[in-house]
Structures are given as C-alpha cells and as structure tokens.
C-alpha cells in the first residue's frame, strides 16, 4: 500500500503543481506508451527489403490524420529507414520527438540528440498524411546540408525532397516547392513569398498553398529573427553620396563634437559639433526647415561614422560592404542598411556607392508562420521562450529528455572589473586548460573580439583556429576538428549553427575520442554573457553532447556591453582581488539583472513590432485580394476600356487581345505596388514620431491606426486613376509596348533591409524619475 501510494501522491502533486504554476511544457505520456509497440515492430521490419519498406510507407499514405496504429507503424518504418539509410537507429527519445512534432508542438531536445533526423521523419509523417511540408531552418547552409543528408531516408519512404537557397533559379525553385518536403531558410521562404506578391504573371509565383511548417532551431527563428521584419527593397536609382558631408563628419571627435548613448544605438551632434558642421557646409542653419535634407545626410553619416564599426557590424570584402548578422556572427548576404545608411557607410570606407533602394514590401516572421495551418518546431532551448511561443504563436513546448543524462559541469561565472582584466584571465585559463590537451571552444561576441583574442593567444604561444563571419564557408571543417584533443577553437556566436562538435574530431579514431573523454571532454568558454540566457545555454550546449563529459564557464566584466546596455549603474563597493576578479555575489546578481533587462527590452521590441505590423499585414492582405483579382482576371483591361474607350479601341486594333490585357494588367499592378511602397514609407514616417503622442495622453498605437487607415483607403482608387493616366500615355512602338517610357519601371534587383526599431518611450512615471534623480543627488 505504502509503495503504491507514494507514486500516486507524486503524480497528484505533479498535476497540482502543473495547474498552479501553469508550467511551460506539456506532457508526452500518451506517446511514451506507444514506444514499446514501436519497438516490437523492429525485428520484423529489419528483414524486409527496401522495396517492401517503400511499399509499406505508400500504404500508410492517407489524406486524413494517422490513427494510433498507423502512427506506430510509421514510427517503426521511420526508425528502420533511418537505420538503413544513415546507419543511425533512432533512440526512443527521438521517436518521442517525432511524435511531438507530428502533434504540433515545439519539442526541446538537447544539442547532439539527433534533431535533424527527428525533423526529417516528422516531415515524412506529415507528407504521408498528404500535406506539403516546409522545413524552415535558420540559414541556407543548414537547409542544404540537412536536405542532402536526409535525402536517402526520404527516398526509402517514397517522399520527394528538395531545398532552396539564394542561388536557386526560378525554375528550380518552382520544382523544389513542388516536392513533398522542401528545406529552406526562413528568410529564403519569406522572400519567396514577398516576391510572389509582386509578380505580374500568375505563372511566376513559386510558392504553393502553405500547409505544414516544421521550424528547426525554433527559438532562433521564431523569437530572435522575429524581432526584425523581413523587408524587401528594390533599387530605384544610383545611390548618391554626400562626399562633402562624409569628409566633414570624419573629422568629428567623440565627446567634443558628438556623443553616443551607452547601448550604442544612437549618436548625435553636440552644439560644438553642429556649429563645426554648419561652418564647414558654408554657414547654413541645419535646424531650420530648409536644412532638414542636409541634416539627415549629416545624421546618417554620423551614424555610419560613430556607431558602425568595421569588423563588428560589417566587413569590407571585394570592394563591397557586407553586413554581419550579429546574432549569428555570419555575413548576411543581400542585406543592407536602410534609408541612406548603406551609402553613408560606403562613403566612410571610400567605396563607390551602390544603388539606392526603397522598401517594396515587408512581412514579419509571425505573419509568415501564421499562414501555415500546421506548425511545429524543435530546438535545444525552448523552455526559456515558452511564454513568448505561447503568446505569439500559440505553440506549446514539449521537453524530450536526453537519451543519456547530461554530465557536463557548468562552473560558476567569473566576473572581473574591467574587460582587459577579463581578457587576461581568459588567456590564462585557456593556456592552463590547454596544457592538459583538453579541447577548448571559445565563444566570443563579435568578429573583432574573436580576432583580438586569437592575436592574444598567438602571442602567448598558443595556436588556435578562428571561426567567424570572415570564413564561415570553412565552418563544417573547423567544427569537425574542434573536438580533437589539443585544439583551441575561437568562434563567434554559436546559436543556430546547428553543427555538432564530436569528441575526438572527424576521424573515427577510438583512441583520440577516449583521450578527449579522459581529459574531461570539450571545455566551453564564453568571453561574455550574451543578451539572453538562452544564447548562453546554446553555447554551453556544445559541450556534453549525448552523455559525453564536458565543462563550461563564462567570463564577464562589469563593463561589458551587456551590463552597459541593461544596467549601467553598477553597485559600489564590490571588492576585487589583485587580478580584478570579483567574488561578491552582488556582482553576479547585477550581471543577471542586466541580462534580464536586455531580455525584457528585446521582448518589448518584439511585441511592438507585432503590435505595429498587425494592421499593416491586414491592409496588405486586403490589398492583395484586389491585386490577385487584377493578376488573375481581366479586371484591369475592363477598367481601362470603361474609362478610356477610344484609346482602348485604338490599341485593340494594333495589339492582340492577350497582349493588351497583359499591358493593362502590368500598368495597374505597377501602380498598386508603387502606392503600397509609398504607403509603407508613409507608415514608417508616422511610426517614427508616434510615441510623442503619449505626451498628449493619447495612446500611440491608436493614433497610429488613426493615421494609417484613411491613407490606406485611398490606395485602390488612386491606383486605378493613375493606371488610366499611364494607359493613355503609353506609346506602342514596333518593338511592342513601351511601358518603360511611360514610367512603368520595375526594380532591377531586390535585396533585404536590416531594419531596427527604436524601442519606445515608456509613457509615464516622469515624476518618479524626478524623485529618484533628486534622491540620487542627495545620496552623493
């Protein structure tokens, strides 16, 4: 009895706790019960031929949902397919993961537990239920690698698979999306969607109707990437660079002529700075109405000069400025800064200016994901963002236990007073650990830091390999060797890299592996805490995969960027020893607090992005309904006929009916897209200052809507009117219709914009700030 009651009590207790605490995860017990049944099918399937397996999978195909028996059969088939194709027999926990994904959860699985196979099997599962699956990953490299790696598994189960990357041609893209399962980076799929919204021929669209999305590295994609909308821009004309301004700004000095804020997001001129600039520009007044244009150029140049650092925010490669995506430490191909900033950076680096662009369309990751009726995800760190996932995506997290328990040793953070003391201690720590031959992975914050550290290590007589945005093509090789005894790897942000570090290196050499294990496994060193504890965990997670030994430690200083951004008021009286190390628990508390502040601020940005884009997405979908009508029917031609009868009849004699209809269509679509682009620019403009409305006790979001809605209602009529005008003016030459001559010019190339939103002013509490300020002054 006593024995029976104890588990009963814990079970009830567990239930109660779940109700009270509203836990971040859901139970998977109902799927755990299926595991034995899946295991029983194993022996039988092992003896079947490959063809038999394929046939069995085909028999499972259904246009409804799997029944429990079908689910068991499918899991057993999947396990066998994985074993044959890759030599990897999926563990029970992986089967749980597959079932978690099939039941539309975000499953949390630690690094090295074989998420890729889990994702592939779940994709097969959905495909066999007659749904088209998009497997969305963080970057193009992973999409391609995973698709190629898992292809044999898909083939065994009779499911077609392909991937898309930026280099994929239009025809290939269409084929890829025609497969049962398509791998692609979130940005790639997002931009395909944005491009689809701008086509002028119905056949040019590549994306099929969205059905199932499985998101790999779900936290990176759904949370980190979602802060910034995907923005597509098109080049309108050659960029102009204000060389004069660039030259003047280059001479300005921090502190004297301009200042920056502690989190490095803004820079502004001091009075001394603005008079210097005004004098240099020939004695103009920057701050009267006429100076605004010049002032914007100065501000943009100052931003480029003061806030964007070469090798931190961008690289200069092949005579071009390439942005670095700081959250991933990679070069962001095809990404640019908006609003003239790109040209200003190019002027700063004395490079020729690239084309000037304008925003054509944008979409948030949220809206992109919301198009899929079925969504699931997987990642190593989901619980930390469970609230966000629930709030924004209505997704629940399911935690899958590791196959073998994690025995990694996480040492407490080591905190120093200044970054230089910290760096010294890091070098000392690395050389000490390296002496034993234990493999070391160092995670740094940015490219510049990784290079600085590498230099310091070289000086100290240590050889290390650097992995950063400069050489991310060699990523796979570097990572493959990072687990070899005696290796030191210095890397930028590891989150979303998705590659495993295997102990002992790439060569399957048991002796090397045993040696690495004996030394204590991979030792991970973080050179500073990241802007969220989740990213810290991502780095730590590189050690101790699949029950291997491993260790991790984070170094931090109280002058790190994170502390400066989150909580610059460091408590006084923290005693440090001779090396500058602080052991006072208050320092750790302060560090954690700073991290939480930054996390909170980032979440707020996410929420604001969402709040402010919801209406835009709505308007876009309203407009798209009309656009589709123009695209798919002859609405445009009918309209022209009604408005410009004479001209229409005249043209109808010269052109075939089809050509004329297409011409009308293109004119109408051009104006629609143009007006939408203008509308977006208008909204960006309103958005910039709308927070000021809070001062008049108005709600900024409501005021934003009040400004945005009437403007939107004008678009369709305006597009029709302008289209009629253009139609009347269009010349028909021997070569056909001269649309370009009539001003109908489509952007020649498209790229993406990196857009950051200013965090909003909190509305009130001025009085408290004032009291707090006075108290502070008194205390001092």
């Amino acid at each position: 009895m006593a024995l029976g009651r104890a588990p009963m009590r814990t079970r009830v207790g567990k239930r109660l706790r779940r109700i009270i605490e509203r836990p971040a995860s859901v139970e998977l017990t109902k799927y755990e019960k299926l595991l034995p049944a899946i295991g029983e099918r194993e022996d039988d399937l092992r003896d079947r031929s490959d063809d038999d397996l394929g046939r069995a999978a085909r028999e499972l195909r259904t246009d409804g949902d799997f029944s429990t028996e079908q689910l068991i059969e499918f899991c057993a088939l999947g396990r066998e397919a994985g074993r044959r194709a890759l030599g990897e027999r999926a563990f029970d926990v992986q089967m749980l993961g597959v079932m978690g994904l099939l039941s539309q959860h975000v499953v949390q699985m630690a690094t090295g537990e074989g998420k890729t196979l889990v994702g592939a099997l779940a994709a097969c599962g959905h495909a066999l239920q007659d749904k088209r699956v998009h497997l969305i990953s963080v970057n193009d490299y992973l999409a391609k690698r995973d698709a190629e790696w898992m292809r044999p598994v898909f083939e065994l189960l009779g499911v077609s698979v392909d991937w898309v990357e930026p280099a994929t041609t239009h025809a290939e893209r269409k084929d890829a999306y025609g497969c049962d399962v398509t791998y692609g980076a979130v940005s790639e799929i997002g931009f395909d969607m944005l491009r689809d919204r701008l086509v002028t021929k119905a056949d040019d669209r590549v994306l099929p109707r969205p059905e199932v999305a499985i998101v790999d590295e779900a936290d990176s994609v759904l949370v980190d990437e979602a802060r910034v909308p995907l923005v597509m821009a098109g080049s309108v004309d050659a960029g102009v660079v204000d060389e004069e301004v660039a030259k003047i700004v280059r001479r300005l000095r921090l502190g004297l002529h301009y200042e920056t804020d502690s989190d490095g997001k803004n820079a502004w001129l001091t009075p001394a700075g603005s008079s210097v600039v005004e004098k240099a520009l020939g004695g103009i007044d920057l701050y009267d109405e006429s100076g605004a244009e010049r002032l914007a150029a100065v501000n943009v140049a100052l931003h480029a000069h003061a806030l964007l650092a070469r090798d931190v925010d961008y690289l200069v490669r092949d005579g071009k400025v390439q942005l670095i995506n700081t959250s991933r430490g990679r070069v962001a191909e095809l990404q640019r800064w908006p609003d003239g900033l790109q040209a200003a950076v190019e002027a700063k680096e004395q490079l020729p200016p690239s084309d000037r662009g304008e925003v054509l369309d944008s979409i948030t990751v949220q809206a992109l994901i919301a198009r899929y009726p079925v969504v699931a995800g997987m990642t190593g760190t989901a619980v930390a963002v469970a609230e966000t996932l629930r709030e924004f995506y209505k997704l629940e997290v399911a935690v899958i236990p590791p196959n073998t328990p994690n025995i990694r040793v996480d040492e407490p953070d080591r905190i120093f007073t200044s970054p230089s003391q910290k760096l010294r201690a890091i070098v000392a720590e690395i050389s000490q650990v390296h002496e034993e031959g234990r493999p070391i992975l160092v995670g740094t914050q940015d490219v510049a830091e990784s290079e600085e550290l590498a230099e310091k290590l070289t000086k100290a007589g240590l050889t290390c390999t650097v992995l950063n945005a400069r050489n991310d093509a060699e990523e796979a090789e570097i990572i493959a060797e990072a687990g070899k005894p005696g290796t030191i790897t210095v890397s930028t942000q590891m989150a979303g890299r998705g590659t495993d570090i295997k102990l002992g290196g790439s060569a399957v050499d048991a002796a090397e592996r045993d040696k690495a294990v004996e030394l204590g496994g991979l030792y991970v060193i973080g050179t500073a805490r990241y802007p969220s504890s989740r990213l810290d965990d991502q780095l730590r997670g590189r050690a101790g995969r699949q029950g291997d030994p491993g260790g991790s430690v984070f170094f931090a200083s109280l002058e790190d960027d994170l502390v400066m951004a989150g909580a610059p008021d460091v408590p006084e009286g923290l005693a440090a020893d001779d090396d500058g190390e602080i052991t006072d628990p208050a320092a750790l508390r302060h560090l954690n607090h700073a991290q939480r502040v930054v996390e909170g601020a980032n979440q707020e940005i996410h929420r604001n992005t969402w709040r402010y884009t919801r209406l835009i997405e709505r308007q876009r979908s309203d407009l798209l309904t009309f656009r589709d009508e123009v695209l798919l029917t002859d609405t445009a031609a009918e309209h022209m006929r009604a408005e410009e009868r004479e001209r229409y009849d005249e043209l109808a004699e010269q052109l075939s009916e089809e050509t004329l209809a297409q011409m009308c269509r293109e004119i109408m679509l051009f104006h629609l897209d143009q007006l939408w682009s203008d509308h977006l620019a208008f909204l960006a403009d309103v958005r910039e200052s709308i927070h000021l409305r809070a001062l008049g006790k108005e709600t900024p979001i409501d005021e934003f809507h009040r400004a945005a809605i009437p403007e939107f209602h004008k678009i369709i009529n305006e597009a029709k009117d302008s289209a009629v005008k253009t139609f009347a003016d269009t010349e028909v030459t021997d070569d056909g219709v001269d649309l370009a001559g009539a001003g109908v010019k489509r952007p020649t190339s498209t790229w993406t914009y990196l857009v950051h939103d200013n965090p909003f002013d909190s509305d009130a509490e001025q009085a408290l700030k004032k009291i707090r300020g006075t108290l502070r002054k008194k205390r001092r």
């Binding site: 609003d339 607090h593 707020e604 209406l615 203008d678 910039e688 000021l692 709600t699």
Partner: protein
C-alpha cells in the same frame, strides 16, 4: 453617436467586449448596494437620509464618491477600489526607495508581473485596514454624525470581523473585475469602475434636486450640467501641436512633412490630479480639527473660523483658496510630470528637432516656454470647472457639495474616462474598416 453604438454592436468581437463590460458593471452595481452581513440595512438607510438632508458628510464624501455611494451604504463593496489605487501608488513610490523593486521594474514584463503581484497583496492588506477603520467608525456612530441609530447592532469581535473580512474580500473582487475588464472588456478596468461609481450617483442626486426644488430648477440644473460637460469635452480635446521633424533617414521621393509629426501638449495637461490634491488639502484642517479639538467646544475661534470659512463651501475664502490651490497644483504637477529636459534629450538622441530651434538646451527652453504659456489657461479652466458647483449649486440647494456629479472632480473624471474609452472603441472599429466618428 447612435450610429457608433450600432456599428460597435454589429462587430462581433467588439460586441462581445462591450457586453462583457456591461455584465461586470451589473454584477458590480448589485454588489455595491448589497449590505454587508451584520449591518442593519434599515438603520443605515435612515441615517443616510438624515445626513443627506443636513449635508454633513464632508469628510468622507470624496471616499464615498469613489465608492459610488457604497461606503455610506456599508455594502460589501464599501472599501471600493481605493485600497488598490493607494497600493499601486505606494508600490510605484517604493520602486524609488527599494533597489530590488527598481530592478524588477526595469526587467520588462516578467518583472512588472511580480510588481503587480505585490500590488495585489498590498491591496488586500490596505483593504483590511480600511475596512477596519470604516467598521470601527460606523460601530461607534462616527460615520453618521448626529444620527443615533445603531448601524451595526452586533459590535462584538466576531460580528465586526465578519464585516471587515467581507469588505476586504469585496475589494479583492473589485480588483479582479477591474482586471477582467481591462483584459477582456473595453477600456481600462479601474478607470471604468471609478467612472461607474460617479455615474451611479447622477440619478440619485438628480432626484434629490427634483424632490426638494421642483421641476423648474431641475431643468435649469440639467441645462447647466450639459453645458458644463460639453465645454469640458471641448477643452479636454484641445492641444497645442508643436511640429517636430525627424532627420535620421534619407527619405525618398515623397515628403510627408507636417501632417503627422508633432508633439502634442494638452491644454489640460495635468488632468484631474490637481483638483483632487487641492480638495484633499482643504479637507485636512477640518479633519485635524475633529481629531485634535473637542468637537463640542464649538466656540473656540479656531473652530469658528474653520466652520465659517473653510468647511463652508460657499464662503468666498473657501472658493478663492480652492481656486488658487488648483492653479498652484497644476503648475506643480506639470513641473514634475513633464520633464522638458528629458524630452529634449530624447528628441536629440533619435534625430528629432523642432524646426527653427536647435536641439538640446534651446529645445528644452522652448518646450518650457510653451508649457508655461498653455498651463495658465489650463489651470484657470481646471479651477473654474472645480469651483462652479460651489457657486451656483449653493444657490439652488442647501448642502450640495463639490462632489455633486455635474461639477468639479466628478465631471472631469467622467469626461476623461469617457473620451479614452470612446477612442479605444473607435480605434478597434477603425481596424475593422469603419470610418472614424470622433472628430
């Protein structure tokens, strides 16, 4: 106006929100008139009438106003939401003093959630305190002075604690209802409940006038009341728009100068707070006099001065003092809530400027200048609205006071909340492609 309501009701989820709010309102009003257990309903009614006739409710009238009359009914919602308001103010103030609170406040939503939790606990504690005070006062006969009926027949420890518990629980329920409205209904729940409390007094007060003064006076009062409300609505929407330009981006073809980028400063930037400060301050001498002095010793010069000039709301000294205090508090409140230096600094940081004015100090000085100019009419307006009832209602009815729902604090709060809620409904309507109606 009617078309607004029609289109609001025609939108399914908005209709759901409005109906939900109405449902909470009904539940709340039922609670507000349900006497707490152990209170003699009969005696409370009798005393209430007696007091209402003599107009001697001065000290508690503000509290009574905020509780929608529930206080003097000794109902289960007698303590109302005042404990919640006090608790949130205290917690806000504590963020200044306690570092841990300050940290929580900065940590975004999760930290704010914890602070809200603390506010709730403190609300319960304060509600128990306030309920104890109310019950003790009522049991000793101090609540209805001059009425010798026993409002709480059983004043033993168990009987009174039951009432205290009930009232504290009532506050907790109101807090919950407020949050429910914010979450699932329309407008800000707490403001809504205050609005409701004040609005609930209108029919009662109106009937009193009708009964005691007759139809003609009643009609005049109604006309005046409507005029006051209309003018308050007018002034409340008035704002000075200072043009602002942001020059951080190189914009393309189209410029949208002037249409939407401005910094609004309201004529009544301070809202209703200065009036509440001023009236509380004017009650203070009376309260002190009652607590310190011997109320029976009505002949001392202090008591006499107090009664004739300060407590008596139609005395010129009271009216003049009230008016001046409001003007003072308006300036004071704006000076601490509108930090011109910080605004100028923010604008400078984000690349904004007022055309023709340099950023930084000159901008701050300019804002200060404009603010000073606009505050003068604003404060005079506030003072006028606040003292109006003293002037003209004292002529029509003995014992009418500041908190008569057609004037002063009450009308300012009602119009404020009403406008906010309308704007919110409008914004939601507009999102569903309806045309705006608030011009």
């Amino acid at each position: 106006m009617l078309s607004v309501i029609r289109s609001a009701l025609a939108t399914p989820d908005l209709r759901k929100k409005i109906l939900f709010t109405l449902f909470i309102v009904v539940v709340y009003r039922i609670g507000a008139v349900t006497p707490a257990p152990g209170v003699s309903y009969e005696n409370v009614q009798a005393c209430g009438e007696q007091i209402g006739d003599s107009g001697a409710q001065g000290v508690y009238s503000l509290l009574n106003l905020f509780s929608g009359g529930a206080l003097l009914q000794l109902s289960i919602f007698a303590t109302g939401i005042m404990p919640y308001i006090t608790a949130s103010i205290i917690i806000q103030l504590l963020t200044v003093v306690i570092p841990r609170f300050e940290e929580l406040k900065k940590e975004g939503q999760s930290g704010q959630g914890k602070l809200t939790q603390y506010t709730r606990y403190l609300t319960i504690a304060l509600a128990v305190l306030q309920a104890t005070g109310v019950v003790a006062l009522a049991a000793r006969g101090g609540m209805f002075q001059g009425c010798d009926r026993e409002v709480i027949p059983d004043d033993g420890i168990i009987g009174t604690s039951l009432i205290v518990l009930t009232m504290a629980a009532g506050t907790a329920v109101m807090m919950w209802m407020g949050e429910l409205i914010t979450e699932r209904g329309i407008g800000n729940g707490m403001s809504m409940l205050i609005f409701l409390n004040i609005a609930a007094r209108i029919p009662i007060e109106g009937k009193q006038i009708l009964d005691s003064r007759g139809g003609a006076v009643f009609a005049v009062v109604c006309v005046f009341a409507l005029a006051i409300i209309a003018s308050v609505v007018f002034v409340e929407q008035g704002q000075r728009r200072i043009p602002v330009q942001y020059a951080k981006r190189m914009v393309g073809r189209r410029m949208y100068g002037g249409t939407s980028t401005y910094l609004p400063i309201k004529v009544n930037q301070a809202g209703v707070i200065p009036v509440i400060f001023a009236s509380s301050l004017l009650y203070l001498p009376d309260l002190v006099g009652r607590l310190v002095g011997d109320p029976t010793d009505a002949d001392s010069w202090f008591q006499q001065f107090l009664q004739t000039h300060v407590v008596n709301q139609s005395s010129p000294i009271h009216i003049g003092g009230y008016f001046l205090l409001i003007i003072f508090f308006t300036y004071f409140y704006i000076s601490i809530t509108f930090n011109v230096d910080e605004r100028a600094e923010d604008m400078k940081k984000y690349g904004g400027f007022i055309p023709g004015i340099r950023p930084g100090r000159p901008t701050a000085e300019y804002l200060h200048f404009v603010l000073g100019r606009i505050t003068l009419p604003g404060s005079i307006y506030l003072g006028t609205v606040a003292v109006l009832p003293n002037f003209f209602l004292s002529v029509t009815q003995e014992g009418a006071n500041q908190n008569f729902p057609f004037g002063g604090t009450a009308v300012l709060i009602m119009v404020g909340v009403g406008l906010d809620t309308m704007k919110q409904i409008e914004s939601q309507l507009m999102q569903r492609n309806y045309e705006g109606f608030l011009r």
